[in-house]
């Protein structure tokens, strides 16, 4: 029996565990859409390809499985780019399938031809052009292997229309051709592990920095065990938030440019840092030269390029985080650490007094109230801007995959489509998207997807009639010369949401009870517009180029 390339593709996806695709059709993907009519895979027709990529990303982040998006050649493929880059920066395993012109037309500037592989080279882990239908199955299998192995990341598969349409006789499929890689030895890991354990045991003021890699390697249990056994205070990078239950007594909050005063101060005083699954991005370290000046730094990561990339590490160890931690835990002692922990406690009391509602003001209080009102197992998805910082500081994740945010790329417009993906991936969990008004408008078309499929996500739009974070930066660091940051209030967001078929309410952030209750009680999709004072900024904040200790607490600083 002969099968078409599209049929083989869908079968291979199904065999790899795919049950959902987020996509948008075009002439060059029609063979796939034709096959989707009958198969077991559900296709969600989004309203923009960027949203399809974010939805696949949100699905992957919420489930830990591979997210799949599909777009046609040319404009469809280029519309995916922001979404692929967002997934790449946060190591999210997604597969992007793109239609392509017929192989004989490749390179001829044919209608809707773009070299999408060339365009996405720097933002994919790898990519494939399937030139021959006999390679379809093995390429898809290889793509799945690559997207999840080692450090996860997006893989793109470009699919010429004639390859999708042509048929492959059974038994003629080819296996994937690759010469095995030569692996260079990376030293004696056990020896390095013992050194790290010794340094940790001997340290007087140790701190653990948890990056996004801990969740990616499913090491949240192990990291919690390590922290509790060694009585080690920890901080998160933005991507690490949620790895350990927020109420864990050793949690000091997230670090960096928009991080907490306490966490930044403690890292600065540490004499030993164990960094796990983080590349020390500039958002975490701010001015890297002044970062943790007193500390010996140990770093554990699966990706050799992340080790020593941005900061010189004294004790690097390249390996799977989960396996490494399992071996490390038995080597770690349980000291009382009274001095260090009580010093931190004192520090905590003063910083908490200074930064009420975690430095977020009313929106911080509001987010706390939303979390109270929603079920325990609710997933929060953030957008980018002040709303992201409010949400990451104030939402207290209790399980690893319950706070999703675009950390590395900082993509406005991420929250709504990613929330769609998260909800479809884990239907039994409530999903709340937090967005600013600016970011909300960037993928507003997805309200149509939400109402069409009746996807019961909750969307909270903080309306400060400004690009709030831009306004804060201009206010503080450009002598209040505001420019191109005012959005105004000419669009009625509640009416728009209702026009799309969602339930919607508007509340003031100071008096949100009624709106929150209605949202929590609603069964379907719901939008809550929350009016916020444009000057409600986040503090402390670190000026560009400064160190994590040069925090600013208000306009007068």
């Amino acid at each position: 029996m002969k099968k078409s390339g599209a049929e083989i593709l869908l079968e291979a996806l199904s065999d790899s565990g795919v049950d959902t695709i987020f996509g948008y059709p075009g002439a060059n993907t029609l063979p796939i859409h034709d096959g989707l009519r009958s198969g077991p895979i559900r296709h969600y027709l989004m309203r923009h390809e960027q949203a399809a990529a974010h939805a696949a990303d949100g699905y992957a982040r919420a489930t830990g499985k591979v997210g799949v998006c599909l777009a046609t050649s040319g404009p469809g493929a280029t519309n995916l780019v922001t979404g692929i880059a967002t997934a790449y920066m946060d190591s999210s395993p997604i597969i992007a399938l793109t239609g392509q012109v017929t192989t004989t037309l490749l390179g001829s500037d044919a209608f809707q031809e773009t070299d999408i592989i060339g365009i996405t080279l720097p933002i994919t882990k790898h990519s494939f052009l399937v030139r021959d239908v006999r390679d379809m199955k093995s390429t898809i299998q290889e793509a799945f292997k690559l997207t999840t192995c080692s450090r996860p990341g997006p893989v793109l598969v470009d699919l010429p229309r004639n390859v999708l349409a042509s048929s492959c006789p059974a038994g003629e499929e080819r296996t994937y051709q690759s010469t095995p890689k030569v692996s260079n030895g990376i030293g004696d890991k056990d020896d390095q592990l013992h050194k790290i354990a010794r340094a940790l045991n001997q340290a007087e003021r140790p701190v653990i920095i948890i990056g996004g890699g801990v969740k990616l390697s499913n090491a949240c249990r192990e990291i919690t065990d390590l922290i509790e056994k060694g009585r080690i205070p920890f901080v998160n990078t933005m991507m690490g938030v949620g790895s350990v239950h927020a109420a864990n007594g050793y949690n000091l909050g997230f670090i960096g440019t928009h991080g907490f005063e306490l966490s930044n101060r403690v890292v600065h005083q540490a004499d030993f840092i164990l960094a796990i699954g983080t590349r020390f991005s500039d958002r975490s370290t701010s001015n890297v030269d002044a970062f943790a000046p007193l500390a010996t730094i140990a770093q554990i990561d699966i990706d050799p390029t992340s080790v020593g990339k941005n900061i010189k590490t004294d004790l690097p160890l390249i390996g799977d985080i989960r396996k490494t931690l399992k071996k490390l835990i038995p080597l770690v002692e349980t000291p009382d650490r009274i001095e260090w922990l009580s010093r931190i406690k004192k520090e905590q009391e003063t910083t908490e007094k200074r930064n009420c509602y975690k430095g977020c003001g009313e929106p911080g209080r509001f987010i706390g109230m939303v979390q109270e009102a929603m079920p325990e197992e609710t997933t929060a998805v953030t957008d980018v801007g002040l709303n992201q910082i409010w949400a990451v500081r104030s939402w207290l994740p209790k399980t690893p995959r319950s706070l999703l945010t675009s950390g590395g790329m900082g993509t406005m417009g991420f929250s709504v489509p990613a929330a769609i993906g998260a909800k479809i991936g884990v239907p039994e969990r409530e999903v709340v998207a937090f967005s600013g008004d600016g970011g909300f408008f960037m993928n507003i078309q997805e309200l149509a997807t939400i109402s069409y499929y009746n996807i019961p996500v909750k969307i909270i739009v903080f309306n400060n009639s400004h690009l709030g974070m831009i306004r804060q930066i201009q206010d503080l660091f450009y002598d209040s010369r505001l420019s191109s940051c005012e959005l105004g209030n000419h669009a009625d967001i509640v009416a728009i949401a209702k026009g799309f078929g969602l339930q919607a309410e508007r509340v003031a952030v100071e008096k949100p009870e009624e709106g929150i209750d209605k949202m929590a009680a609603s069964k379907g999709p719901f939008l809550l517009e929350v009016m916020v004072d444009p000057e409600n900024y986040v503090y402390p904040i670190i000026p560009p180029g400064r160190s994590n200790m040069e925090m600013i607490f208000g306009r007068s600083d």
Partner: protein, 157 residues
Amino acid sequence: MEVKRHTIKLVVNNKPDVLARIAGVFSARGFNIESISANVTMDPNVTKIRIVTMGDTSTVTKIQNQLKKLVDVLSVSHVRESKQGQREMILMQVKLTDKNRNDVMKAIDELQCKIVTRKSDYCILEATGSEEELEILVQRFDSLGIEDLSRSGVVAL
């Protein structure tokens, strides 16, 4: 940080986009590729590439690590400074006039170049050697009148 010349040797899968991926790792850091040479090996599925770049050692190490991560790159090594295994080839078109003819012939003889073509008003010469040897060669002929030249890039074992 000291900027030095580095030669990186790669063994890669022989695929259409592999060179673009490799070039991308250099250009992303703003690094220039000084010279590059690629050729097939005994195994038709595999290509050997040598790249010469200028940079500080720590960044070049980072580039090597990033190259290793590329799916189609099978191995990466840093060619040590020892020059024995490194050769390069040059082709030069040198002007011939009544005035310089004798000097050109003398230089060809002394520097052991091979004459590929000889016309009445120019000749094309071929030579191989280490990069430094070829530098000396270029200097000598430059004073006599080079009209065009092309170098292969370093070939190393």
